[in-house]
Symmetry: C2
Subunit: 335 residues, 2 copies
């Protein structure tokens, strides 16, 4: 878990975890095994952790309202549901260090597992009180679904040879906002809003969530290229193989360096054509992308720095420090 060095959150996240377990409880059913398997996997718990931090900063000592935990559990469940369905769509083999649900239990079961997680997430927010927060989460989810569908779109356009504007930086950022940042923004917003009525504070938390979300996705993209299979829990370059383009790739295609641009496009085309990369191909692609990983890394660090600038507006307490440490830990993922 991402938070293991931050003991302040242990109690809170255990509460979230037990809520998650309770919420998916369907007694002795075919889905129990895959759902429990997935839920018990080592997860970063980044979204629920951030949601709770965002609340704690404004309510450092007292008991948090139950709704905070329910929202935190719900947002993690939605995230899990979307992972399970996305893994079907991307035909991913691994997730969270183990075989993906679609590969381990079959596509049919994976569809239902995702539906069940989704349903549990929805139930948890209905149980809580504030309607407008629920709609923030669902709004985020809608964005997530449409972003995923745009990736299918792009892969199709590419296959047809329509490359124009397909790998633009702005297009990439727009998609990352939908695919990843919106749920982070929702988490930070809801945490704050449940305990603090000051709208400027809520906005500040949303901005921090936005920066964390965008940089988190960029980091994932970088790690997909440079990390070992063991480290990420899915094989390196797996996204590209499914026609999903990461940030270093976007930077390469827009580098102005004709040789790298052509190479990137031709390797992407090969990935899409379904041909498995040979290890030589893979090495060539990684070698070409490494300098762009460095560029991307710098951008990530500057976005995380921007996030820190918002801290001047926040209350000063131990939770604010924890959030600051969290941002540094995120940056350290790239070391």
């Amino acid at each position: 878990m991402f938070w293991k060095d931050i003991p302040e959150l242990t109690y809170e996240l255990n509460k979230v975890r037990s809520l998650i377990k309770k919420s998916v409880n369907v007694k002795s059913n075919r889905l129990t095994l895959p759902v429990m398997d997935f839920i018990n996997r080592d997860a970063k718990m980044l979204r629920p952790g951030l949601l709770i931090l965002s609340a704690r900063i404004f309510l450092p000592e007292d008991k948090l309202p139950e709704s905070v935990y329910r929202y935190a559990a719900s947002i993690e469940l939605l995230h899990m549901a979307s992972l399970v369905h996305d893994d079907i769509i991307d035909n991913a083999e691994f997730r969270r260090g183990l075989v993906s649900i679609n590969h381990g239990y079959g596509v049919k079961d994976a569809i239902l597992v995702g539906d069940l997680l989704f349903c549990a997430a929805a139930e948890l927010i209905y149980d809580s009180t504030s309607d407008s927060d629920a709609s923030v989460i669902l709004h985020g989810l809608k964005h997530l679904i449409t972003a995923e569908s745009e990736e299918l779109d792009d892969a199709e356009l590419f296959r047809k040879g329509q490359l124009l504007g397909l790998f633009g930086r702005r297009k990439y950022i727009r998609r990352v906002i939908r695919k990843t940042a919106t749920l982070f923004v929702a988490a930070m917003h809801i945490g704050a809003r449940e305990v603090c009525k000051d709208e400027f504070m809520q906005q500040t938390m949303r901005r921090i969530g936005y920066d964390i979300g965008v940089s988190f996705q960029m980091m994932d993209d970088i790690l997909d290229i440079i990390s070992k299979k063991e480290l990420m829990g899915k094989s390196s370059l797996s996204d590209l193989r499914e026609g999903v383009v990461g940030y270093p790739f976007v930077l390469a295609v827009n580098s102005g360096n004709k040789k790298d641009e052509d190479k990137a496009i031709s390797l992407f085309r090969k990935a899409l054509s379904g041909g498995l990369f040979s290890s030589a191909h893979r090495r060539a692609l990684v070698d070409m992308l490494v300098p762009y990983c460095d560029l991307a890394r710098n951008e990530v660090l500057s976005i995380l720095n921007r996030a820190k600038k918002h801290f001047v507006f926040l209350p000063k307490n131990k939770w604010t420090v924890v959030l600051l440490d969290t941002i540094d830990s995120l940056a350290n993922r790239l070391n």
Copy 2:
């Protein structure tokens, strides 16, 4: 549409339909086409129609609260979402008279279309006020998902030759309750509850919903066998071919007639092995099942009669008559 002969509901259901359209609006996205295609198909609108009737019976003249329409739209959206995902799981080729979403647009898009419909459904209930009604719907949905997974379970057990208790009548009924009746019960309950605080009335409506739901599923099973492909919008015996067992089949296996029992099992085994039915096989199966369709039909009529007995407790107004007519129209599907 099922309600076309009941003009009282035209205005109400048009309102529901426009809510549904608004709720799935994601501008110019890859999913817009399949979602709109699906939404514009001729649908029975049975669940939202019943929900509104259940409210109208207790509020015959005045304007219905907006929440009633939102719940009605939501319950139809959930139903649609589950159809789209179930069609992937069952590899169904047709739905609502046209090519299924999975066959027309591909499995990947169908997963996202279902997710989007689900998300839209959840948004609609969050917008409305009464939390406990939302949880009734989600509870129903959980049952639906687990029922679908049990069908996968059974097909697997059967493939392994473990037939014991696989086709029991009680088991069938239990599944139908989850798969179909629960959403009907939810519809009738919510309609009443939104406008009438009398708990006995709500219970009465739930009971009527239960009877309609169970008999509706049995009817679908019967029609899968006796109707022409054109009439049902999917090919005859399609359920069986995917290893899903209908009520006439259950009656045949439990008939005490050894010859029919063996024949049913052997044909089911053939269906599961993936072999396409020859038209001779199909005819043999249909001929064997027809008498059991008659038995099932009698049971459907007696359940619908039981539903009518509850009417003695209901207010007497034109909407009560419409609901009574509705039950008769349902029974007429089998003529």
